[in-house]
């Protein structure tokens, strides 16, 4: 993940993940937990490279849940949810974005460290054109 420079556009390699919400009783659940936010303490985030990164991270995946089926992994940073940017959100705002009752499907853009490695690796094996 590239370091965040305020005011500059953020460049990252992202993966598109689509999760269908599962109905459990009265609730629609996605099957993962989030942590982080601009109102939280970024130093305690175990998944981030840069300890000043206040983005939303996936901290836990419920086994057998919709997120696990959609191949969301622990440690992923959520960049967009259904088109809305998540990099500058408070924790509560992020939660609300993910748990809207009238949405059945959430389309996430997530980034993880291994993606960058894979891209670099694949770029390196082809000559520049």
């Amino acid at each position: 993940m590239s370091n965040f420079i305020p005011g500059q556009p953020l460049i990252a390699v992202v993966l598109r993940i689509e999760i269908k919400k599962l109905r459990q009783g009265d609730n629609l659940i996605l099957g993962f937990s989030i942590g982080g936010g601009i109102d939280q303490d970024p130093g305690q985030n175990p998944f981030s490279d840069d300890k000043t990164d206040k983005g939303i991270y996936v901290t836990r995946i419920t086994p057998g849940g919709p997120a696990e089926e959609a191949d969301l992994r622990m440690g992923d940073k959520i960049m967009q949810v259904n088109g809305y940017d998540m990099t500058m959100m408070t924790h509560d705002q992020a939660r609300k974005r993910l748990t809207k009752k009238n949405e059945d499907v959430v389309r996430l853009l997530v980034t993880r460290k291994s993606l960058e490695e894979a891209v670099k690796h694949s770029m390196g094996s082809y000559p520049r054109q």
Partner: protein
Amino acid sequence: MDTESTYSGYSYYSGRSRGSHRHGERSRDRHKSRNKDSRSEKSVTINTPPAEPLLGDSAVRGEQVQDDNWGETTTAVTGTSEHSLSQEDIVRITKDLEDSVGLDCRRYFTLTLAVILGLLVFLTPVAFLVLPHILWPEKLQSCGTACEGLFISVAFKLLILLLAVWALFFRSPRAGLPRVFVFRALLAVLVLLFVVSYWLFYGVRILDAQDENYQGIVQYAVSLVDALLFIHYLAIVLLELRQLQPCYSVCVMRSTDGEMRHYNLGQLSIQRAALAILEHYYCDFPVHNPALLSASKSRAAKHLAGLKVYNVDGPGNNAAAGMAHSQSRAMIAAAARRRDTSHNELYYEEAEHERRVRKRKARLVVAVEEAFTHIKRMQEEEQKKAPGDVMDPREAAQAIFPSMARALQKYLRTTKQQHCHSMESIQQHLAFCITNNMTPKAFLESYLSAGPTLQYSRDHWLARQWTLISEVSVTSGLKDGSIFQLKCADFSLVVTTKKIPYIQMSEEYIDPKSHKFVLRLQSETSV
């Protein structure tokens, strides 16, 4: 590691026959020390020549003939000797020293000198003013208004000087110091020189010439009194103010039990510093109790009594210089090898003593609390109503004392304090506590722990005669690293000095509005 060397020694010894000689023991030492020198600190190589010398001090070494019976007549070190002094003897000797004529003579001599100097100083201005009127009254100009105003000034300044000198110098001496007080002597000499020079000038220029200008003479007298007031200011600064700022930190340690205290002193001479330290000693140090030291003395005696060095090969060739040295090393090595269980005894004895003291203390506290419940203070109104069986504090103390006397006596015996408190003093203290509405705990506090020397009766202040032992002159000032001793009959106080370091302080300003805090949040929500 120690036990290892000891055990091996013993096992080897038991293997040999009972008639092992000293020679064999020595070779064993050498053999062992070669193997274990690096590991065991207690094995010592003894490099003595084959002929061992006699045991004894250097006076005996000159003897050529060995008396076979001398071993039986020498004894190990015991606690007392023939010429022991009892406590009463010491008191008598110190009292004799105090009543000696020499010290008093010096004190009176200084006092008379001071009085003469004072009279000279006070009468000089008056003499300056009066002498012209006596010697040449007709030639003298009459005194105008300004001149008479100066009379008032002289009078009041003399009064102020009198009061100031009374405040600074007319105090009963606290102590007799070994050497003269340097600053006072210097000031006295200065004053004397000053007054003498004024008299000289007066004698030559005014008396001889019979000056008519009386106002000038009065002004001269006023200038003398002014200068005397300034000298008095100098005296205050030198004698009182200079040593107030702390400059040295002294560490005072008592030689018998290692009680240590630290004080801050200013720039003083060694004798004045010693005086200040002694005044602190009486308030701060717990009273010297010789009964508490007897246990360690008996242990030391046991150590020495255990070993004797024998020379089996006969006297004679003892030319080597390090004879006594090798003897003591032999004793140390033998003592190291001996199985010493005195530490065990000490540990259990101390634990047992602790338990006993605590049990006695519990009994004592309960007894005293119960005794205090028998007494009630009568209020004013009640005093008028019931005049019978009313006691004053002393009688009240005597009434409740028997119920706690036994427990208190047992406790004092266990903590070896029984000679510090007499029955009379205990009853006095009890009456004092009752009068001042003290609780039983307050009454007991002075018996539960040893207090400073001031707390006890006057005969405990036996050491009013102290000796100052110092390698440098006692009138020289305190310096960093100076060491001196204050000796009295029973113990000595060793004083070491350290300079208080220069402190460099810097400031840091904190804006009161700059104290801001945030919460450290880390929540995890499941979606």
